[in-house]
Symmetry: C2
Subunit: 146 residues, 2 copies
């Protein structure tokens, strides 16, 4: 009994989860084993100069309460810190802290490794086209980017 070809949503899910799982496994194996999937989803959206909680929430597509809950844990574990936002006294910036900075190269290495595997399987041309297409798609799918 041949399986139907799944719709594009499912196909996106499969690839997305594969990447996510690989990164979390590697980071965990490197000694950062107290980070959860939900925490990692928020953590990875922190920009180089820090990101506001509300923005993190929006990008990770959770409520700001949930983002706050996860940032609390990341903060307690030493991965991030909250600093005042100089441009707005209501806001605070979530920044990558010492321990978080140590985890970054591990994560980056796995992402590169997985992308290389995908490129090897698909061919460089297709891989480049995939990335390009997803970037374009973002214009219609990412409320934050608009």
């Amino acid at each position: 009994m041949p399986r139907d070809e799944p719709n594009v949503g499912v196909l996106l899910f499969l690839a997305y989860r594969a990447m996510e799982r690989r990164v979390l496994e590697a980071v965990s194996a490197a000694g950062f084993d107290d980070i959860t999937l939900a925490q990692a989803r928020v953590f990875q959206r922190i920009g180089p100069d820090g990101t506001r909680l509300g923005d993190l929430a929006e990008q990770a597509q959770v409520t700001k309460q949930t983002a706050g809950f996860l940032v609390d844990q990341l903060e307690r574990a030493g991965y991030v810190e909250r600093v005042p936002d100089p441009s707005d006294a209501r806001a605070r910036l979530v920044r990558v802290a010492e321990r978080g900075r140590a985890a970054l190269p591990v994560a980056a290495a796995v992402v590169a490794e997985v992308e290389a595997e995908w490129a090897a399987h698909l061919g460089q041309r297709r891989m480049a086209a995939l990335r390009d297409t997803l970037v374009r798609l973002r214009e219609v799918t990412d409320p934050y980017a608009r």
Copy 2:
């Protein structure tokens, strides 16, 4: 300050979530408003002739306990039913039931609509290439498909 181009994992996430959100919104608006996101993730993987709980769990990438918990709720709400698996007395098949069948065309219509929007934005050629690439990628990312 220009945002870095996110990695492919994030890009996949954005597209995946956009599709998922649209489908759930439409299904909910059509009166199937008691279904949750997690339930929908399991529901959509049920095959035409029913699917075993363990397979559902594997495809949705949750434990079978979690899948069972979600199927319980779907069953109570009338979306699915459990029937004995004729080929194995230990197993049962989760099948789409009356109410679930009513929701299917709604979901299918939105998926088609979103895909059409994406195709309009990307062009037919790129859209077809995206699907093709994701199908190929599945060979290395989907443990179930292998």
